[in-house]
Symmetry: C5
Subunit: 319 residues, 5 copies
């Protein structure tokens, strides 16, 4: 589907500009949105707009890093939308010229629709939309980046919960959750860091076309992305700490379990041996026939176990 | 609450300048402090001061990184105050122009009050306050950063104590404490590093407005933040070392516990088996009927255990 | 084998230009491909082309990093082809002048053949090949880098499978697989990172010869290599996470195994001792002769084990 | 204590210049050393020398990073002396102008004394001291940095010894030593890295006052600090390797201990059970009454243990 | 020993130029080699060549980082030779002027001899030696760096062997070997990285004296050092992976050993208790006197062990 929108020099918005009227000088600029375009529609990028073949190729093949290329009469940007559930990315391609903005994306995106509606509705208010296509491109990218935040916040919430839970759950589940959090953070970083690098280049670029202060707006997006990458890095370290802390606690608990086992074994094995010895059936075992042999042996057993307990205590095993 | 303070060209301080007198040319500059402002008061940023909408938006939404934006006639800074107990941050927004300073914060902050009082009291002494709003902004930020130090010192003290304690406490508590220290350091770093980056940009910026050498003052703050980040990084490494050291000690102690268990088991199991064998009730067990069978078996048991102890000793298990 | 190809000023392609006609002014430029050259053929680099001795030396000795050297009248580039199975690299050397392209490689490479065929077939279409040797060099390098992707994708696929499998396999195999993945990633990185650095220098170099916009093409390759290194770094971290996660899960499972062992031992050892005591053959053991001694002892054993189970439960061992 | 020293234009050295003669034009420059100054003496920095209040504040408060500030007519440097035993630092403040050098330190430092004596004694020899205060400042800093080396060498020696010892000592002591080495390296790095950064800025600064080639001298100090940081980083990695190596060896030894325990338990438990069964007192146990039952049971026990040993051997447990 | 070699303006090589003829204008330039110089010979650096005292000091004291200093009329370079067996370094100092090259080293080095002989033999061939002392300095450094390669290759070979061996050796030896490889890599890095940094500065320096294209030659050395550092870093990561992989495998094997132990103990302990109970000597134990009590007990034992084995199997312990 292709939809168009034209801003006249009087700051009026006209929807559904016919495709052969895009150059009509009555429009200050025109926004053409390729939403889930068919193959035939995609061909228009070449036949109608005459964009550079490299840029068109970048649209059709989806494995792209966010990037910005400068062509003679336009900028070409690839940015990424993030899906909240799966953290999968959708590519949005922007062709930004003096008098046109072309957006191209293979999925219907709520962020592009939001930006589209804002341009449709608010055009008269602040005259920002009169500032040309770069302001609209800013709107699209701002909407995209705003939807990154809930993804990171969701992870931070889970992480906070994890920290505070304190062992009311099986460690196995916990470790799986930490691993899951970490791989989601990795996935997020893979999307957000290239976006941040792109915005840095946009802010510091000298090519940006547009009439008024677009730099301040893109700086705002860049600050948001910086904040996001800070959060992601901190969360990665937090989860690593959490995992290392569990490992060291585990190794410590293991020690205390092993101590219990060793103490029990060390105390009872000798006693069992003594009982076993006097259970032997030799004919000539003088102790067996004494009056108080049994009680002496019980006493020896008691003394032995007390002595061993004291010995363990002195070596600090019960701490 | 909004409070104001005007410095006249004669370096007099006048408190409570009426809001409609802020432009009065008798003042060299005016400081307006929005302290826990209501929604109506916040609206003044737009209606009275006519600040840029992006800057106002940054005030109202609190999720900000420390940052500095340049507008035509003013600088806009976002800095963070740190609460000593929770290590939570409070945002302070500063609008710094030639003839005005506006500070805006959602909580009542002791640091801003201190700066305010210093301007109120010392204005006649050194004439630094005659140097314009940037000197007052410096004061506010200096007070904020000075309160970062106790937070880091508290952690360093706990860390020193932890190092010197040497095992008089349960390892579980210890590991929890290390984890707690590390996550507090992470939290601190998340506040202090962006502040440091901001101060670096302030010091190297060419936009700074003001009459005399503000750079030297901000360099001083920057040096403090550099010192703080050095300390935080070193403490993070220290705690990691502490944890890794515990893990390796633990694994070593485990070894020695396991050796004890194995030695005990290895010595007593065969003896118990021997005792068990001669406790069997077979009719035809010739050894049972010999005169000294019992004593021979005891002797064999003794010899066996001595031999096993020697064998373990030769393999170095008792080291 | 040496093969040649000449592009005339009329954008015609002529195959098999004789070696003594390479300078013929009717050709806009000539591509000479040294494919698995013999020693005699390699000597032509010096005797026919008079290349710089350092560049020739770099061709003959294969231990090279991807690199680019500038000589008076040409660029010399070393790039690497990657074999999909072994991840071994083959060096391709390119001498790029105003009117010639010389490619030199010790193995027959499908990538060079592809580029060669594209030049042979498509020359009339887009006139890109009229843009001189740099465009053909771009083609060769683009083909090389395109074959890096399947290597990385193969690893990503294995990694995805590994993540989702969830323990239906022996951990030993799993760890070997992780280790294998990591060492392949290391090997890939060793090839791709220097290629990326080279492309960065190519894109930012001011020496590049050629008539039209070669920079945009090389930027495209650079973006691909950036994407690849991002993927490799993320996969390295992913595998490290996977391994650390297994280690922590393992240490946790160990704890639960040890608990089982300790509980069993702690419950049965005292009971076995009691049975052993009453199996002793002392003459004077009053309990043996009571009517209900046996049942009392069984009751004591039962009570003891119940009490111990409760004690373990209270200490949280069964969680 | 304050001591002074004046260099005349004839390159004579005069000790004990009266404080009111510091400006006497007969001196090319004057060195004033504040050694453990009293509060009254410290006040002279303001009343006599009229230094900038920020610089004076930096002297009085000791929590400083090494740094360099430029004031109108002087440089202000903070450098750190290192105490060999405790690795504690002492701050030395240097005020360096065209015609004066002021050094300020709260402790009596052998390094400053050495520099002082060198100026006193060698002034006539090489005329280096005629080059002004920067050459003397170089001397002081050079002496300070020279005393860093023994601290690092001491650690390297301990580390070498540790590596070569090879287990003639308890692992617990060893791990404590590694931890101690690491925390000392951390402490050293915290002093040396900021000093290195400072020297880098000094070498690359364009403000340095002085008449002849001071840059070459400071480059020399910078190279020493670079060497030191290289050594510290390498030692940190070395100790980490040492610790990781011990952990992996430990986990391996644990395995072999556990194997021993498991083999012993697995062999003797079934045998003990058999002995126990034939020790039961049932009336009707036919085996007990056979002629060779006892010997058959002994044979079965022997066969069982041989079989189990072979089974363990086949599974590679004795490797 | 001091040896000299002069290149005339006619590109003739004259050996053994007398020390008082070094300035003779008939030589284009002269190479003086201090090979294991005595104290008296070293003094010539000052008395004959009048080098800068800082440079001479750097020769006499051996603890140097590779470095390059610029003096008025010469460059001073410190480079390091690597001994293949011990990986110890020997310092080579080069003084490079317009008309002289002075090399100074405390050990007889095969690399310097090789360079010396190349200059002696090949001078007529390519006229490269007519290009002045910088070309000879290049030769010396190239020979030095070429001898770094065998050291790194030796480590790579050992590492390859280690990877492929797969457990035919004791893990203890293996870990020691990994540790040894890592510390040798560390040692190599400590030599090679500063050399690389030095070459980077040489290549990018604007001071280099010489007549023709020395930069291309040093770029070649720089590329080799870059390759070497890449290899060292990759090998460090490889060994770390190897060690971590062993640790995780070890922890996994430990689990399976512990499972064996626990299964054995859990099965046999209850059976042993039952046997013990019926081995007690109470008078009134009704079961003992039943006809089939013994067989019932054996049946119960069998049933119990089958049930426990099934229970372990259901919990997945035998996987």
């Amino acid at each position: 589907m292709i939809r168009t929108l034209g801003i006249t020099h009087q700051h009026q918005v006209e929807a559904d500009v016919p495709l052969d009227q895009l150059d009509n000088p009555k429009y200050a600029w025109v926004w053409t949105d390729f939403n889930e375009p068919t193959k035939e529609e995609s061909a228009l990028l070449d036949t109608l707009f005459h964009f550079h073949p490299l840029a068109i190729e970048d649209c059709l093949h989806v494995l792209q890093r966010p990037k910005m290329d400068y062509y003679e009469d336009m900028e070409f940007m690839v940015v990424h939308s993030l899906e909240a559930d799966t953290l999968d990315t959708t590519e949005v391609d922007l062709f930004i010229g003096r008098r046109f903005l072309v957006t191209y994306h293979h999925k219907d995106l709520v962020e592009v629709n939001n930006a589209w509606n804002k341009v449709m509705q608010r055009a008269h208010d602040r005259k920002i939309w009169a500032r040309g296509p770069m302001a609209a491109a800013y709107l699209v990218i701002d909407e995209l980046v705003d939807l990154y935040f809930p993804c990171v916040f969701a992870i931070e919430d889970e992480l906070d919960e994890l920290e505070n839970r304190g062992g009311h759950e099986s460690v196995e589940d916990l470790m799986n959750q930490v691993f899951d959090l970490r791989s989601r953070l990795l996935k997020l970083r893979r999307t957000i860091v290239p976006m941040r690098d792109l915005m840095y280049r946009v802010v510091n670029s000298e090519h940006i076309q547009g009439e008024h202060e677009p730099r301040a707006y893109f700086t705002d997006i860049y600050d948001h992305l910086l904040k996001l990458t800070d959060m992601i890095e901190a969360d990665r370290e937090m989860t690593a700490d959490l995992r290392d802390s569990y490992i060291s606690l585990n190794s410590n608990r293991m020690n205390s379990i092993m101590k219990t086992l060793t103490v029990i074994t060390t105390i009872f094995m000798p006693l069992t041996l003594i009982a076993g010895i006097y259970g032997m059936n030799f004919i000539n075992m003088p102790e067996l026939h004494t009056q108080y042999g049994y009680f002496v042996v019980l006493g020896v057993m008691l003394a032995l176990s007390v002595w061993m307990i004291l010995w363990f205590q002195r070596r600090g095993w019960f701490k």
